[in-house]
Amino acid sequence: MNEDVIAVVSALVSRRSSRTDGAAVRAEGALTDLGFDSLGVVGLLMDIEETFSVRFPADQITPEVFHSVDSIVTAVTRLRGRSS
């Protein structure tokens, strides 16, 4: 299940990334290294909520959670576990 979440989050990140060199999205790599700016992160937040039908509470909308694919996957997994 977690691998599915990783794959989906990676796909969403890749879609929002401004990198054009086709570099693979590394799960632990920082979003900023993929060319994410502040509005890109907000777009990603919206994509993730829409795709997984989850809502991040206020205390989860932090630079730490939106640092990398890994950190986002951890948060999404926790939120999905909470809602199921």
């Binding site: 989906v8 054009t20 907000v42 937040l45 939106f66 999905r80």
Partner: protein
């Protein structure tokens, strides 16, 4: 100054240069504040890590004097130009005032520009020295960018004395936003700056002790003139985060407790997403939004969640930023009409010190409600474009500054409110910055390996516009984006490159930009990664299915109640009496449409066919009626005469002419996106029978959207009529509104396809049933009743429409003439 330039700087009877403010220069204001309220805070800068640094007015005076000594030590003399690449921090602000105190002109450059471009701009203005924030990279060898961190941290400020400055002397130079290599450099005088500062002080009631937080960068006219100069002038306290970080911005607001927040709409959109459970400070009174068009949805969301109004402002670098702003003291109903219920929120009323006028291409003022170019004159109008007398003369032609923006005005409560409808030139507004599409085209075509290229703008919920480029390569693809990043500002670099074999061009080689936009829209929408099944591994093929509402008893009941209930629905709206002249009628209809998506006027007599078609051309592009079944009713190829003279019929093609009800629909719901009708124009030639008969029923799409769950809207955003790949999805987002392309299929069936991963056939069918029921159960359905001479225009992106009918009465009937229009 030329006669035109003099006229463009006049304000009613007050000639340019006559004092309009308490202080003649911004340096006078600085000296005054340092004596009047030395220990009050002037500026709090918030660093990326949340750390805050605050300086008082006295500290600003002392530190800027030391900065001035340092700048003079670099060889700068009064009237020199000094390049400054600032960031949002105390040191940059102190250095800016230091430069101004030497009597030099600060050429303010964007830290997001490539170093080569910064250097080019400084050289073009013969800058004596180029100073950068320590947060800006030094630049390659050969480009001399002095770091402002080299200035001493302390010194004897008493050694500095300000030179005498003329109020009309140059103060700052700024590139027109979104600048490209061909951009123009605006020169703002000291008089411009203090006049605008006085205007914003009056408009917002700014005074000592109040905090104004700006999330905008100080290398833009907005933050420079409002957040820095406006607060200094008023003795208020500026709060300046290092930039906009949506993950921390809510916390900054909660900690710094501003009375006013200054933003661009993209920032508001992002904050609405990320500032959850906001602890809105009691001090917060309003939000000022400028730099790009605000949507009514955004204004409404802010009002609902934060309990404060958004006041949209408008201005250009050339007009020292603020020419108009929505007033702070509007009665609630006027605010609703002008902002949250308007199709496009108003930019407000003219500020002190400048006049705003909507004018024709020939330079004549238009009648209220008619669209023309927004022109400005007053003491806030820039001195000139530096080194570009031809562009200056062009901008001031006819004694007005020409903004290049289209708009109109509406009188309310004794004030004239202005609205912007678009740009004259090929401009995109990305993140609040103007980007010339022509300039990006040129930069694209200059990339080696590119055979042809052009770009278009697409609407983006977060960035406002985004730039998308189509590129044809000579041979193998090359990295276009990398090449562009070296040549044009980051904001102008396209967000997406689409490779095409050729571009749509006319026989003469002219780019057909609307065709290119439609092509790219189709490619991008089709290629957009679809949402993914939670827990799934990737996009899936579309689900297809068949929907039928036949036999849905609840729907049958609702449909009958609305269309056959015999009640007269609330008028939408009452017709406005207008002379039977296509120009006047067009102006009034345009005004009403912009506010509520429906317009109704009452003429003394119906227009003739030609005048009716002329009216259509004023509103859009009439579309020929090609259906063979209706040809007997068509006039001049585009006017359909809906003559209702018989009872109900089952023949769908003839139902518009029959006496029975007409089910709710959006017009042409299966047509391609680029050929979706925007307006339906109806004019009544004759009518007999009671009002309860033959009403046109209008159901606001916004009410339908509100009745649906977010998941249902998502499904509809991914569902379209099967086998019609160019048709829009049933729901789509246009300008912040949900627009439907859908009809009630009554007893027939709809074949559909849905690309939303995880959506099942049953779920889509349930959603379509929910949508159809929502169409018939709005909180407030509206009705149009007809009499000879009534003209109504329905915005097909705002309302579903249909027709009610009671008992058919022999002899009752009506004759409506109809035009269907595409958007201009």
């Amino acid at each position: 100054m030329t006669d035109d330039a003099l006229a463009a700087h006049g304000y009613h009877a007050t000639a340019y240069g006559v004092p309009m403010a308490e202080h003649a220069t911004i340096l006078d204001a600085l000296r005054y504040r340092a004596l009047d309220c030395p220990n009050e805070p002037y500026l709090t800068a918030v660093a990326a890590d949340g750390g805050q640094e605050t300086i008082t007015f006295a500290q600003l005076a002392a530190r800027s004097a030391i900065a001035a000594l340092w700048v003079r030590g670099l060889g700068v003399r009064p009237a020199d130009v000094v390049g400054l690449v600032p960031t949002n921090d105390v040191l940059s602000v102190v250095t800016l005032y230091g430069i101004l105190r030497t009597g030099a002109t600060a050429l303010i450059l964007s830290p997001t520009d490539p170093p080569l471009r910064i250097d080019e701009q400084a050289r073009a203005q013969s800058a004596a020295v180029l100073i950068r924030s320590p947060h800006v990279r030094p630049g390659p060898p050969g480009i001399s960018l002095v770091s402002m961190s080299e200035q001493p941290g302390s010194g004897d400020a008493g050694k500095w004395s300000d030179p005498d400055l003329s109020p009309l002397s140059d103060a700052v130079m700024l590139g027109t936003s979104g600048s490209t290599s061909a951009s123009k450099i605006v020169v703002q005088s000291q008089h411009n700056i203090v006049t605008n500062a006085e205007a914003v002080r009056r408009h917002h009631g700014l005074r000592g002790g109040q905090r104004l937080l700006s999330f905008l960068p100080i290398y833009h006219a907005n933050a420079l003139n409002l957040a820095l100069f406006g607060t200094l002038y008023a003795g208020a306290h500026a709060v300046l985060p290092h930039g906009f970080d949506p993950l921390r911005a809510g916390r900054v607001i909660e900690q710094t407790r501003p009375r006013i927040i200054s933003v661009a709409p993209t920032i508001l959109e992002a904050l609405l997403q990320t500032w959850r459970d906001p602890d809105v400070p009691e001090e917060l009174e309003h939000v000022v939004s400028a730099a790009a068009p605000l949507t009514a949805d955004t204004a409404r969301a802010v009002r609902e969640r934060w309990r404060v109004p958004v006041l949209q402002g408008y201005g250009l670098t050339e007009t020292t930023n603020f020419s108009t702003t929505v007033p702070c003291d509007l009665p609630a109903e006027v605010y609703r009409e002008m902002v949250t219920d308007a199709a496009v929120p108003s930019i407000g009323v003219a500020l002190y010190g400048n006049e705003v006028s909507v004018r024709t291409a020939a330079g004549e003022p238009v009648v209220p409600g008619a669209v023309g170019e927004i022109c400005i004159r007053g003491h806030n109008v820039m001195d000139r474009y530096a080194g570009n007398p031809a562009a200056t003369a062009e901008a001031f032609r006819g004694g007005w500054f020409h903004t290049g923006d289209l708009g109109y005005s509406v009188g309310r409560s004794g004030r004239e409110f202005f609205f912007v409808t678009g740009r004259i030139k090929n401009i995109a507004k990305v993140r609040g910055e103007m980007v010339s599409l022509d300039e990006v085209d040129r930069a694209l075509r200059a990339v080696p390996g590119v055979r042809d290229a052009a770009c278009v703008r697409r609407q983006d919920r977060l960035t406002g516009d985004s730039v998308v480029a189509a590129v044809c390569f000579v041979d193998a693809p090359v990295d276009v984006l990398a090449a562009l990043r070296e040549r044009i500002p980051a904001v102008a670099v396209p967000s997406r490159i689409v490779v095409l074999p050729m571009l749509p061009r006319s026989r003469t080689g002219k780019l057909l930009r609307p065709d290119l936009a439609a092509k790219l829209d189709q490619l991008i929408t089709g290629a957009e990664p679809t949402a993914v099944v939670p827990g799934g591994s990737g996009p899936e093929p579309p689900v297809v299915g068949t929907f039928s509402a036949a036999g849905d008893p609840q729907l049958t009941r609702l449909r009958r109640a609305l269309l056959e209930g015999g009640r007269v629905l609330p008028a939408a709206p009452e017709p406005v009496a207008t002379p039977a002249d296509p120009a006047a009628v067009g102006a009034e209809l345009t005004r009403q449409l912009a506010v509520r998506g429906i317009a109704v006027v009452s003429l003394p007599a119906p227009l003739g066919v030609d005048a009716f078609i002329e009216l259509g051309h004023r509103l859009g592009r009439p579309v020929p009626e090609r259906d063979p079944a209706v040809q007997p009713y068509v006039a001049r190829g585009v006017v359909l005469n809906l003559v209702m003279s018989g009872g109900p019929t089952d023949d769908v093609a003839l139902q518009p002419f029959a006496g029975g009800p007409l089910s709710l629909h959006s017009e042409g719901s299966g047509r391609p996106v680029s050929r979706q009708f925007r307006f339906i124009v109806l004019m009544c030639r004759e009518r007999s029978g009671p009002d309860s008969e033959f009403q046109t029923v209008l159901v606001p799409m916004a009410q339908v959207a509100r009745a649906l769950l977010p998941r249902q809207l998502d499904i509809l955003r991914h569902t379209r009529y099967h086998g019609q790949p160019e048709a829009p999805t049933i729901a789509r987002d246009v300008g912040g509104r949900v627009v439907f392309a859908f009809r009630d299929f009554v007893d027939s069936v709809l074949h559909w396809e849905c690309t939303l991963g995880g959506a099942t056939e049953a779920e889509v069918n349930d959603t379509l049933a929910a949508l159809t029921r929502a169409m018939y159960a709005p909180a407030v359905p509206l009705g149009l009743t007809w009499s000879a001479g009534t003209v109504a225009v329905i915005d097909n992106t705002w309302f579903f429409h249909g027709r009610s009918a009671g008992r058919f009465l022999p002899g009752a009937g009506r004759h409506l003439a109809r035009l269907r229009l595409l958007e201009h």
